[in-house]
Subunit: 314 residues, 6 copies
């Protein structure tokens, strides 16, 4: 197992034990959910699409009008330094997660708690990828069951999901609703018009007559993995485009899947109680997953299975 007690997080310029990666209750992060974040994973110990994650991080900061005090170049540097400081404590065969968390900092009302002065809170934490992939390992074969909770996606004009922030209680509410259906039920939220928006931390894709469709980039987080599927599809010659996808369309799909940083691509084999295709992961889904695996040099489903078997039983 990883040496969890040796893991260190970057915290406003210092490396601290991961147990110390904590935020004051007087920080705007908690006071207002006023924090942006990113989750980047590695493949073969190399951060995957870190540049795109940092691009989005700075886009989120800009929407929230937060100056985090680090340039994008500096952020890249401290990120890599933080990674380096942790690699020794995570088995070589394991990949890891980089989590960036940035808030506006403590509220001025409480400045007396922070004698060193107020400044944005910047945290970078590293975490071995065990649970995140082990728990979905079986779904690469069985697929998950997408269900539509009554909790809808918040329209972007109220709270823009394109900025990846911590004010996302509605994701949790959707998760709670889905959980009542059973462990393999994953919430896929509709937007105000009834179009499929997104899962609660993932994007939705469907395949119909050989083409890929995914939700338009409005009421969703524009996932880095979503973008990568576009890139893979282009290489593989599979048409891929954003569309207004309604449950009617999803029910006619030949295949469907979700994308997220942690699991890359996860098949959806049931949708609102109906079976998609023949109830098993479809050929386009598998082709994309294989291409992704090849590109990054990791058999993604196999890695998940291996980690599940070796690390989750301890």
């Amino acid at each position: 197992m990883p040496q969890y007690d040796q893991l260190r997080a970057y915290y406003n310029g210092e490396l601290v034990p991961v147990t110390e990666a904590r935020v004051s209750v007087y920080d705007s992060a908690l006071m207002f959910g006023d924090m942006v974040f990113e989750m980047t994973r590695s493949f073969r110990r190399q951060p995957f699409r870190l540049e795109q994650h940092l691009d989005r991080l700075y886009a989120s900061l800009r929407l929230l009008d937060i100056d985090c005090g680090l340039t994008r170049t500096e952020m890249l540097q401290v990120t890599m330094e933080t990674v380096e400081a942790n690699l020794a404590y995570i088995e070589d065969e394991l990949d890891y997660y980089i989590m960036h968390d940035i808030s506006r900092g403590p509220l001025d009302f409480y400045r007396r708690v922070f004698p060193a002065g107020l400044r944005p809170t910047v945290i970078i934490a590293i975490w071995p990828m065990i649970e995140h992939i082990a728990r979905v390992a079986e779904y690469y074969e069985t697929g998950v069951h997408a269900i539509i909770p009554s909790q809808g996606a918040i329209p972007s004009r109220y709270l823009d999901p394109k900025a990846k922030t911590r004010s996302r209680l509605h994701y949790q509410m959707a998760n709670l609703q889905a959980a009542r259906y059973g462990p393999d039920a994953w919430a896929v939220m509709l937007d105000e018009h009834g179009y499929i928006a997104e899962g609660t931390s993932c994007n939705f894709f469907m395949v119909k007559d050989g083409a890929l469709y995914t939700s338009e980039p409005r009421n969703i987080l524009r996932g880095v993995s979503r973008g990568y599927v576009f890139a893979l599809a282009e290489e593989l010659g599979i048409p891929c485009r954003g569309a207004n996808i309604e449950p009617y369309d999803a029910l006619q799909a030949d295949e469907a899947f979700l994308t997220a940083t942690s699991f890359s691509i996860l098949p959806v084999t049931r949708f609102e109680g109906r079976v998609i295709g023949d109830g098993r992961p479809g050929p386009v889904t598998k082709r994309l997953l294989a291409a992704w695996s090849e590109k990054v040099g990791v058999d993604i489903p196999a890695q998940a299975k291996y980690v599940a078997e070796k690390y989750m039983t301890q």
Copy 2:
């Protein structure tokens, strides 16, 4: 000045220095903005309407389906114990704030960081009321300028403001928009229908022809102070009711004010660039504030002014 380094917060059963009232980045509080809270203030060192705050706290927990592990009675008890533990370090002439913060606890994915096991996070922090009231002291006389930001109130069906949670980045966004107008500009958000919903942590009232009107209890936090104004108005024989208030109505008002736990009642003397009434706090507003002051035994505006002069210059 208060002895800040002696202040202690309740943290899952223990009293810790206020600097240690911190939440892990792996806690659902930060991961999803999945935390409920309450702010209760004292008058003459007695918590004001604590029962109502606890009622709302448990209503919020219920909506989020969080079992915090403490009954309401136990919560009251540990709250009072926490208050007691701090009183010695806050000057007798000062009042204080009690902040309850409760989350679902750390995510199961990260259980390795929490060897003692996962459980909800319950924090109760005490804070002397200095900045919170000092900064508004002048507005009891001049009133504030209510402005309508383009950031609207999130409809309750997406994220219910009646539950007091930390997923409220949109309040911060509204604050940022208002701040561009100047320091005395306070954001008052409209709901999707154009009705005045609420300020970013306060409720809106207006006076017309001797009667009080406030936003209907839908797309707002149902403020404890708001409820107290209803009670005071009844005692004073002032009609008071919820209404769909549009900017047109607000502009025809004789008086307007905001209510919040920290300042109780704060006059609004300008609205979207137009003067309300004669531009000074109106008679009904002043009557309510006087009645409140009398009830709690504290001259509220005077206290704010006193604290501002004595404590803010240090």
Copy 3:
């Protein structure tokens, strides 16, 4: 058991076997879902609130601009005649359902199928109350579980639920969604603003601090049973009024129940996975049900239980 093969339905002036109560596929009823209806039940063999049902029937006809060819007085008369023609075939201890079904009649395009000419289709069918009450018998004690499907109530400006029509596929869709939660899950739909509208053939009530609240009469069928609860409440001195009820409010309720012609009042003891009150039918609910039973001279829960035990096992 009732002599089902002796039951007769009124069909455009004639009495026909109930198996012949059938509508042509060329009738507007099927072509457009263009049919209004009413369900009236008896208590002690007397139709209950038949006048109110007929009032609503004619209100529905008026919205659809259908002239059914019978005055309200004539309709009452043929209804009672149809009842009379059937009573002998239903055990004395059983109550019955009267179903009125009225459509605009066959489409003119297909007049050749109807050599006798085109006219509105008027059907009145009588049915012994066995399954309708037997299947809910247990819920008078356990209560049902109200769940909110993602299928929302259609806003009345598109298709007005106040007219009781057969174009209500969305009720069926909501039922299908609820059924996935288990047999005791009953769908309670939200309207476009997130207010609780109605069940898929019933109205929602909640009790809070001794008062009754039910959905405002907008995006709902204004149930005859709903109206009767208002009347009972007035007699019992229980305040009762229409309100915008949101899930937040329902979760804070002391009690909740549904009303419908078939079961009168059915307790709701769980709501979206949370327990209401102490998880059992509450005192106000029981008081209303007792008053109703007394008024009609039928112990409503006992009747359901009796019918379930005696007739459902055959």
Copy 4:
């Protein structure tokens, strides 16, 4: 005239006289408007685009989660058998309509009426095309007058028009509104955003600067005839695409027309009281209609006129 009394409809495995193509009032078809359907016409006695109609039929069934008991292949077979059984009774020079009607079957509450057991209701009826085309015969020359009723299209998230179901009272309501304008007034409904959705059983197209535009496939039935116009346009080299068409755009159109299975293409020469183009069917409209006629070997307007003159006067 056709021998109407010899016409036979498929009814759950049997052929019955068309007068017996009737559905019980206890069937979900009537209880909930819970029935899907298709209308397919023939050209030169051959079903036109029957495959596409069956595709849509099964898509509708899937959305409603109805298993009709027949595979698509079986459905095709019984459809053709039903056609065969009727051809002898319809003059050779006439075309016919195939209507598929499928419901979930009788409600379980009323199983005693159906001693043979409950199963989905499947009806296939054949009807000679006389009235359907005769009544529009004149409009191939004069065009119809499109008017916008206040009845709007139901947003698909509430009741999806892409599934062709019998819960469509709102179409009838729109028809009633249009009828007040006169016999040549055809209702064209707007969706919630003010875009032209569809006619009450037809799709809307407009021509501007040589290109074809039709409503986007969201709040509409995706008509088989609509799809055929896309195909014809491609062959003829006419650009054709879905668009958000507002009344402003329609009023600037050079031409407009409706498409439906019965009439194929029907010119719109007036729109909300204003004349479109020069008030006569335009060149692109006529070119498409000519191409369609040629493809199917039937001069469509001429057939309508011939049938009107020969058969409607009897």
Copy 5:
């Protein structure tokens, strides 16, 4: 006939011939529809409810943030002076209309056209009441036909109808739609929720079971005549209140009518093609109209008829 060429209008401090009551194309009134107005009528030559009209005028000015340069007292004075200047030229038996029109004045871009400087435009014009009442004279007996155009009321958050301004093209569009139904068709617009908002210059009332209902004061002009009906109803002991009125409700009404300054009360005897009540003005409507007539000393319908007969034939 009145001596039209002697009529004088107040124009920024001067009295000018009515033909000179003209506004520059460079005035904000035309550039932006940026003008507020009021229409006040006389009864027995006395302005009726002029105070209320001036109250609303200043409320409108306040919403538009226009300082017209005259206090409310001065406005009253110049209004009465303008009336005085015109009375001699209007027959004693006739009443008159006072029209106030106030804009922000010419745009600064075009100051060179206005060498005397830029200032708000204030116009007060007097007009004998002939056409305005003569044209509706017959409807006091027959009633008008209320129809719902597809043009909806603009939600007040976009353009508040409570301010009486000249940006109201949508009223004209609704009028054009209604006119297609015939001369007695009056447009009654729905708001975004399908509630009856208002006519295109009048308010809607309905009577049901002896009580009066009118649209809630949100998406409407809060008519001075509407307010007077409330006052009359109170005197007559008729319950009267604002309500969300849907077409379903209006169709169940016993009576309905419109109110406006020009005609006071006008019966509605048909609604969307259905007859209201028995198709003639109802008893409550007539009672209110009689009370109004008595209050003002003018038999309102008789005056309209008299004027129609005597003055319209010339």
Copy 6:
């Protein structure tokens, strides 16, 4: 300076002094904001894109169902004649504005004021371009600050901005809100979905990664200048397309600008308080402005500066 007192406007067939280009308060233009208009400017004394402006003028007239009495050809002719009649009084080095204003004419109620009869009001006025360009001269270098007012764009289904009419008080309201931010603040309104609609008389463009994006042509005036930018972009090989642009996207833009007839292209260098790009007009913006200048033979920014310096100081 131009000889303003010699300027003549076309007024229903006659040339009148510009001071006489006035509209009666009884004209539908003022009564209902029922007037369409166009603003066309010249470059080097030649009307620019006059054909496109007239196309849109007639499209607007068509939506409003106004027959102005002049064919499009006649309108072009009288427009050019009016221009000719004024050129002598405007310095050769100056350009001019042509304003078309057309209303339905006086209301029939007031026909006595118009003894010559009622007919549409057609006005064509010529104005030297001094203030219009001088006041923005500095912004070609500094850029303007785009801010989002709480006043939203009226959805086109209520009042279609694609028709250029005088009912546009909401533009003025948005201007008033923006003005509170300072003189360089320009209102850019959002539509109901939170997409950037338009400025209060201009269109919004942004540049990202070398491509141009502008609001989709729905809730906006489809600007003639907007169309010209599409044409220029095509010539310059810059991709340009309509898109749903949200504030999130605008904040990530490399450049942004506004287009309007008066100023052609005006850089936006700040957006909601954040700097766009490096805070100065960007390369694509400048390239487009240069291309435009070259096409029309006028250095547009230089002309504005020259006019500002020479003419505004007099």
